[in-house]
Symmetry: C2
Subunit: 208 residues, 2 copies
Amino acid sequence: MSTLPASPTPPRRTAADGATSRRRGVELTQAIYRATLEELAATSFEELSFEKIAPKAGTGKSVLYRRWSTTAELVLAALKDDEAGLGRPLMPDTGTLRGDLLVLLTRFARILEEPRGRALRPLLTQRPRHPELFEQVMTQVIAPHRAVLLERMRVAVERGQAGPERATERTAAIGPRLVVAESIDHGTVSDAEVQAIVDEVLLPLLNR
Amino acid sequence: MSTLPASPTPPRRTAADGATSRRRGVELTQAIYRATLEELAATSFEELSFEKIAPKAGTGKSVLYRRWSTTAELVLAALKDDEAGLGRPLMPDTGTLRGDLLVLLTRFARILEEPRGRALRPLLTQRPRHPELFEQVMTQVIAPHRAVLLERMRVAVERGQAGPERATERTAAIGPRLVVAESIDHGTVSDAEVQAIVDEVLLPLLNR
DNA sequence: AAAATAGAGGACGGAATTGTTTCTTAGTCT
DNA sequence: AGACTAAGAAACAATTCCGTCCTCTATTTT
């Protein structure tokens, strides 16, 4: 009854022909990161355990204990990873504020559909329970991405595409917040919804 | 170490002089509702159990099992309760759209600071894990409040205080969403923040 | 006043998890 | 080829948690 469907990641790795293989180094670490974020996305940080992650990554618990001593450490490492996690943000430059906003928010919306994006949810909404982890995720993972959005708004101000003094952290937060809210309510965020947020909410707000 | 600070609700009821009293009926039920929502607000629905609620309400587990058979039942009852939960929404009528929005959103912001408001968070953000409960909370608890906001917007349209065809469920969702987001990020939502949401985001959006 | 009801609290057995350890062997290095 | 490192899997003990039952007694009902 409580048995979950088999994890997306094959529980056991097999080589091309079916002979059993054994992953090492980066390959193994990536599999563990993915399993961690999947599990976190599906449950919560409280329920996260090496016990559940190991089989989902197709490995043994000892492999995890050898590399990280707590689930918080593992989660942070997974989120910071460029491949499995969120890594470094890309700076768009479409020439217009509208274009930059669409690129950034659409990209954000897509990531929220993946496990690595959903993994953020339990962390952010359960903030008071893990202040240290929350703080680290905030400064090491979220902040760089926020900075990019604010930066594009500042550039827009310089280009005269947005009213002066409108490029603040507060206004920069509105877009991502609405996208997250839509994601939570509908499970997905359509391109049309992103457009509506940009055209009907953000641009009117930022143009003076 | 894992012992939580004593619950706000006294674990044991004592009469005026210190003689031990024993609650019954409504009084007892209310205490259980409050304990339930407090516990839910502090943790998550997954971690909720009669075992934890009973001592927090200053009663025994058998009392709970006698009245509800599952935690989902109990949670829904608590949220629907007029006193302990959210109950029926109040319809404001200040004469202006701005006034109505300020009243509704400010009231919402205050409720989100209380346990009964925070109790909603784990339910809404963990939606896929309890579809039935989520559905019931949505239709029986949230929907009536949403309806009030939309209704005030419709009235504003009739009065010419808002552009036609602007009073949609989508636009009605923006205010509450931004309030929730601010609440999650900052733990509290100041009156100034509510004002900013109304004046800088909602009114520009709704006035045509 | 006596009987009946239901609250408070704890005991109990069982099921489910968890972190750690141990063991065998695949894959790597010299 | 032989030695070595680390992966994968399982055994282990300890803990936690759950639902039921039992006892005692405060409060209500007759």
